[in-house]
Structures are given as structure tokens and as C-alpha cells.
């Protein structure tokens, strides 16, 4: 089954991204991890097939670009304020 292979691969990408987000301390690496997770999700959509899925994936790509832009601009601002990109320095957001 080709579809099953695609889905397996998509799930692997998803877990890869998740591992990245869960373990990395660098804000930019977290942002990259989130992008990887989204890629895994869109690949599973494509594997399911059909025009609706394709339309959805194009939409996801556009939205993901915006999300990445916002995340990176956040990272830039964090760096300007704290002088580092380590997320442990952001603990004061604890509130």
C-alpha cells in the first residue's frame, strides 16, 4: 500500500518535529520544529488524495508561511529584549 507508506512517512515527520519542539532550547529551533510538524500534517493530507486535500494543503502552506514569519519576528524581538534566544530565559512569562 503506497498510501500507508506515505502516512507512515508523514507521521515520522510529525514526530521529528515534535521531538525538536520538546527538546530544543533555542527559540529558532522550536520555530523550525513547528514548521516541520505542519509539513508532516500536510503530507498526510496529500496522501489521502483528492482535490479538497490539495486545496487544503495550498492553504496550509500559505498559513504556515505567515505563522513562520510571526514566530521569527517574535524571536527577533525576544533577542532584542533579553539578548539571548534561550527559552529558559523566557520563564518570566510565567506570570
Amino acid at each position: 500500500m503506497v498510501v500507508a507508506n506515505y502516512i507512515m512517512f508523514a507521521v515520522m515527520i510529525l514526530f521529528l518535529g515534535m521531538y525538536c519542539v520538546l527538546t530544543k532550547k533555542n527559540l529558532i529551533k522550536s520555530a523550525i520544529g513547528i514548521s516541520i510538524m505542519v509539513k508532516g500534517a500536510s503530507l498526510s493530507f496529500l496522501a489521502a488524495g483528492g482535490t479538497t486535500a490539495q486545496v487544503a494543503v495550498v492553504l496550509i502552506i500559505v498559513v504556515d508561511a505567515i505563522v513562520a514569519a510571526i514566530l521569527l519576528s517574535l524571536a527577533v524581538n525576544v533577542y532584542r529584549r533579553t539578548g539571548s534566544l534561550n527559552i529558559e530565559d523566557l520563564r518570566k512569562l510565567w506570570g
Binding site: V21, L22, T23, K25, I87, R91, W94
Partner: protein, 609 residues
């Protein structure tokens, strides 16, 4: 589009377009913006008065108009989707006329009262939105859309109570109003969904859109399961208690006095608090058969009216006295509706007369506060000769509230007492008569402290400007003559076959009022109330009197009770705060573990695949 449909559209478009266009016109200058808002207010008033005229005096037929709102929500080709249905019967037309008419006078009054304040664009846009939402609320037939407008009214009240954003007390009062009415709103939403679920369960999913139509539900009340009706009915009561400030959800209303006085007038007379009474009146035919439903409503009204009247008696703040008096009068209306169909006309009639004289009292109080610069009545006094317009108009309003014949407050209050007498509810009737006594006493106290006697300090009194005195005089005239509308009101109700409502002529109404024993209660209450006020020193001197006064001043501890709940929630939150490490990795790990557990539960529970 027929002329009728055009009218319905205009009644909604004028205020909503105003909300959108006032910020645009703000570019053209303050004057243009303000006059535009006032103009739109009067256009709205004109349209709703034309609608009132058509519905009350026209053919015995409601103004209806319907367009498909979400036709795709139909569950099968035979079913209809949700439609935006307008259904204007005499009750809805009256409510809209109150909202539009008094709202436009408040707008005119605001021109001078709010002159030079910061944030006027926000003020006028929100006032127009407030009026428009209220008109929408009473026009629609669909419960979901009604709920939408219900929330819009709540949102406007929040934003306008907290209008002075730099004053922490005002901001707090706005949030308090929003949070407390939210309790009722959630209950109302549950009630609406309970009705929809019950009706679709018994009649089939095709009836989803009908299950939200008030008219359909009332016509087919026999087919609705009794349990559904009971759940929905009591949820609706809680919803009305929040909006109409009934005990124990009344605490937001006195605090809402931090708003500009014009907003108080709008909330108390034209819009917000009437919504709950309207909902009860509208759904009375639906829930009247539910056991204990009307009794619950009646006792809520009785308790609210009595407690609020005692609090009004000891309050030093002029606006808060009026606020408690509103709570008390709303209790009268709920009491009237709790008598069932016998009190229906009386309660809605009292709503109308109360709206007029309470708007008058608030705007008069606004003129006084505007001049003196304080709300504490113990710093006023002796304003009778220096503020003639405010004095005479507030005297008329106050005497109407106290129940002096022949002002409108007398007739409508007497009508409620009469309905209680004729249905044989003697114990609640006795409490309501005591409340009427207290009403006369606190009104007299207010007039005495503000206008009579010697000035307690130097005041720089400036004359009331025309933009402020015209609404006052108009409302004073309204207070004197509005009661004559009873003939039209009851005839319109009878024409629409409102249950058990008899049409009566004005003369017949007067004859009935003066020949029935209830008039003795009303007049005795007025006399005893005046006597009670002059005997106040004797009462305040003894220990029992002191104790009750100090308890009532603290609002019977309702605020302390809610404060306790709030403190408990904060402590609970602080205890659970420790589970938040603030570390992104830990937080996300928790999130992923939660997701995995959820998927596993769903999978093994058989909900997936």
C-alpha cells in the same frame, strides 16, 4: 420589499449605520458627529413610533418579515434552515418604542451633558449600538438571534458602564456587570439549547429551525416534553434575573452607577434591564404550564422588590437610590408576570410607565449632579429654587414613582396590586404593599434631601441648558399622560389574542381602578410611606432600627458573598499555578501527553474508527 419590510429594516439600519458612521464623521469634527448621532436617534425613534402606530392601531396582524439566514442548516430537503424572522406584536412594538423614544431623548440630553468629554466617538457609537441591539432583541422571533442581540446589549452595557476608562472604579463596575450578567446569559443559552434538543428529540431533526422560533413553540406547547419545558423555563428565569437585576444577581446594577448619568438612564429605562422582563413576558405562554414556574417568578419579584426598597431607603448616593428603586420596580414587574396571564397587562404596562418616569428621574438627577458635582445627597439640599426645571420635573417623576394619583406610576402599580388581589395572592400582596410604602418613603427622602430644606453648602448653580431641559419636560409630560395608553395597550393585546387579556377602554379602566379595593392599598401605602418618612427619627433611634439600617447599608452582604467566591477562586488558581513551570519544553510535553491520553481514551472508548 413592501413598505412594512422597509420600516423593519430602517428601524434596525438607522442605529447600526450610526454606530458605523459616527467614527467616520468624527473626522469632520465633534459637532458634526454629535448632531449626526442625535439625528439618527430621532430617525430611529420616528420609525419605531410608526411601527407602534401600525401594530397597535392597524389591522389586527403582526408585522412579520423573514429572510433566510442560514438555509444550509436544513437537515433534509423538506426542512427549512434558520431564518431571520421578525415578528412584531403589540408587546414588541411597545418595547421598541421605549428603546427608540427614550434612547433618542437621552442622545439629545447627552449633547450638553457629555460636552467636552474624552471619547465621545466611542460614546455615541455605543449608545446607538445599544438602542439598535435592544430594538433587534424585541423584534426577532428566533431564539438564537435573540440571544445574539441579548449579548450585544450586555456588551454595550459593559463598555458604557466603564466609559470613564481611567477611573478604576468605573472599569471595575463594567467588569462586574459583564461577569454577573454572564451567569444569567449562560443559563439562557442552556435553556435555548435545551428547548431545541427537547423539541428535535420528540419531533425529529427536521424541526430544528422551528424549535428556535418563539411563535412556533408557543403554538405547539403541548407537543414539547414537560421535562424540556421545565429545564428551559427555569434557565430562562435565571437569564432574566441576570439581565433584569433580580436578587441575588442584582449587585451589578448599583455599581453600574459609575457610568455617566445618561447611560444610567438608558440602561434603567430604555434598554438593558427591560430585556429580562421582556423575555419573561414573551415566554410566559410557553412556560405558564410548568409547575411552580410562575410561583418562582412571583417570589423572586416579591423578594427583590422588598429588599431593594429597604436598601434604597438608607443609601446616601442619589444615583444608587434610583438604581435600587429600579431593582425594586423590576421586582414589581416580575411579580406581575408571576401572577400568570392575570398580571400580564399590568406588568408590561408598569414597564412602560416605569421606563418613562425612571428616565426622567435619572436625567433630572444628571442635571443636579452636573451642577453640584457630587452624588452624595447629604451634600445637596435647598436646590428647589435654584434649579427650577430639574426640581419640578423630578417632583413629577418622584411622585409618579411614589404612586400619587393621577400620575402614570400610580395606575400601573395599582393595576399590579389589583391583579394580585383578584388572583387571591394575599401574602405576596401584603409584602408588595409594604414595598409600596417603602417606595413612597424613599422617594420622599430623596426629594427632601436634594431639593427641600436649607442648602448644606455653597453651590454655584448654573441654569439647565435647553438640550437638557427639553428631554426633561417631554418626559414629565409623558409621565403625566402615558397611563392613558392603557386602553390602546389592552385593546391591542386583546386583538392579538394574548391569553386571557381583556380589552378595556380608558374609562372602564379608571372605573375599575377606583371601585376595586386595591386602590385603598395604593393610597394607604402612599400615606403611610409619607408618615413613615416623617417618623424616621423614632425608628432610627432604637437598636433594631440601627441594626437593620447598618445591614441594609451593606447591601445584605451579597457583595461580601460574591467577594468570598472570588477570593476562593483566586486561592484555587494560585494553588494550581505551581503546575506551570514556565518552561516551553515542559509545557509542550504536558500538552502532548494530554493529547496522547485523549486519543487513547477515545480509541478504547470506541469513539474513534
Amino acid at each position: 420589499m413592501t413598505p412594512n419590510e422597509l420600516l423593519v429594516w430602517l428601524a434596525l439600519i438607522f442605529p447600526f449605520a450610526g454606530t458605523a458612521l459616527v467614527p467616520v464623521l468624527a473626522k469632520a469634527g465633534t459637532k458634526a458627529k454629535v448632531y449626526f448621532a442625535v439625528l439618527l436617534g430621532f430617525c430611529t425613534a420616528a420609525v419605531v413610533l410608526i411601527i407602534l402606530d401600525m401594530v397597535w392601531f392597524g389591522a389586527s396582524q403582526a408585522l412579520t418579515y423573514s429572510f433566510a439566514w442560514a438555509p444550509s442548516l436544513a437537515s433534509s430537503p423538506t426542512a427549512t434552515g434558520l431564518s431571520f424572522t421578525v415578528y412584531i406584536d403589540p408587546l414588541a412594538a411597545m418595547m421598541a418604542a421605549i428603546a427608540g423614544g427614550i434612547g433618542s431623548l437621552v442622545l439629545l440630553y447627552s449633547v450638553k451633558y457629555m460636552e467636552g468629554q474624552e471619547g465621545l466617538t466611542r460614546y455615541y457609537a455605543l449608545v446607538l449600538l445599544f438602542i439598535g441591539s435592544m430594538i433587534g432583541l424585541v423584534f426577532v422571533d428566533n431564539l438564537l438571534i435573540l440571544y445574539f442581540f441579548w449579548e450585544a446589549v450586555g456588551l454595550c452595557s459593559y463598555a458604557l458602564i466603564g466609559f470613564y476608562t481611567k477611573d478604576p472604579k468605573a472599569a471595575r463596575a463594567g467588569i462586574k456587570a459583564l461577569v454577573i450578567t454572564r451567569v444569567g446569559d449562560i443559563a439562557l443559552l442552556i435553556g435555548i439549547f435545551a428547548l431545541a434538543a427537547g423539541v428535535t428529540a420528540s419531533l425529529g431533526a427536521d424541526f430544528f429551525s422551528q424549535a428556535l422560533s418563539i411563535r412556533y413553540l408557543i403554538a405547539h406547547v403541548a407537543t414539547i416534553p414537560p421535562m424540556t419545558l421545565a429545564i428551559a423555563g427555569f434557565c430562562f428565569i435565571i437569564g432574566a434575573m441576570g439581565k433584569s437585576a433580580q436578587v441575588p444577581l442584582h449587585v451589578w446594577l448599583p455599581d453600574a452607577m459609575e457610568a455617566p448619568t445618561t447611560i444610567s438612564a438608558l440602561i434603567h429605562a430604555a434598554t438593558m434591564v427591560n430585556a429580562g422582563v421582556y423575555l419573561m413576558a414573551r415566554s410566559l405562554p410557553l412556560f405558564a404550564s410548568v409547575p411552580y414556574w410562575t410561583d418562582t417568578l412571583m417570589w423572586i419579584g416579591v423578594i427583590t422588590a422588598f429588599l431593594a426598597a429597604t436598601m434604597a431607603l438608607v443609601e446616601p448616593d442619589l444615583k444608587r437610590v434610583l438604581a435600587y428603586s429600579t431593582v425594586s420596580q423590576l421586582g414589581f414587574m416580575m411579580f406581575g408576570l408571576g401572577l400568570g396571564f392575570a398580571g400580564f397587562t399590568a406588568a408590561t404596562y408598569h414597564l412602560m410607565s416605569h421606563a418613562i418616569f425612571k428616565a426622567l428621574l435619572f436625567l433630572g438627577a444628571g442635571a443636579v449632579i452636573h451642577t453640584i458635582g457630587t452624588r452624595n445627597m447629604y451634600e445637596m439640599g435647598g436646590l428647589k429654587s435654584s434649579m427650577k426645571v430639574a426640581y419640578y420635573t423630578m417632583l413629577i417623576g418622584g411622585l409618579s414613582l411614589a404612586g400619587l394619583i393621577p400620575l402614570s406610576g400610580f395606575w400601573s402599580k395599582d393595576f399590579i396590586l389589583l391583579a394580585a388581589w383578584e388572583t387571591g395572592r394575599y401574602i405576596p400582596l401584603a409584602i408588595m404593599v409594604i414595598t409600596a410604602i417603602l417606595t413612597a418613603a424613599y422617594t420622599l427622602r430623596m426629594l427632601n434631601l436634594v431639593f427641600w430644606g436649607q442648602p448644606r453648602r455653597e453651590h454655584h448653580v448654573h441654569p439647565t441648558p435647553a438640550a437638557m431641559s427639553i428631554p426633561l419636560v417631554l418626559l414629565a409630560i409623558g409621565t403625566m399622560v402615558a397611563w392613558m395608553a392603557i386602553g390602546f395597550l389592552s385593546r391591542a393585546y386583546a386583538m392579538f389574542h394574548f391569553e386571557d387579556v381583556q380589552g378595556m377602554s380608558l374609562v372602564g379602566f379608571i372605573v375599575e381602578t377606583v371601585t376595586k379595593p386595591a386602590i385603598a392599598f395604593s393610597l394607604a401605602a402612599l400615606a403611610i410611606g409619607i408618615g413613615l418618612y416623617y417618623a424616621r427619627k423614632a425608628y432610627a433611634a432604637n437598636a433594631v432600627g440601627q441594626a437593620t439600617i447598618s445591614v441594609a447599608r451593606k447591601g445584605y452582604g451579597f457583595d461580601a458573598f460574591y467577594g468570598g467566591i472570588y477570593a476562593g477562586l483566586v486561592r484555587f488558581g494560585n494553588a494550581f499555578r505551581r503546575t506551570h513551570t514556565g518552561d516551553l519544553n515542559y509545557n509542550l510535553t504536558g500538552l502532548v501527553i494530554g493529547l496522547v491520553i485523549l486519543v487513547l481514551v477515545l480509541y478504547f472508548g470506541g469513539f474513534l474508527l
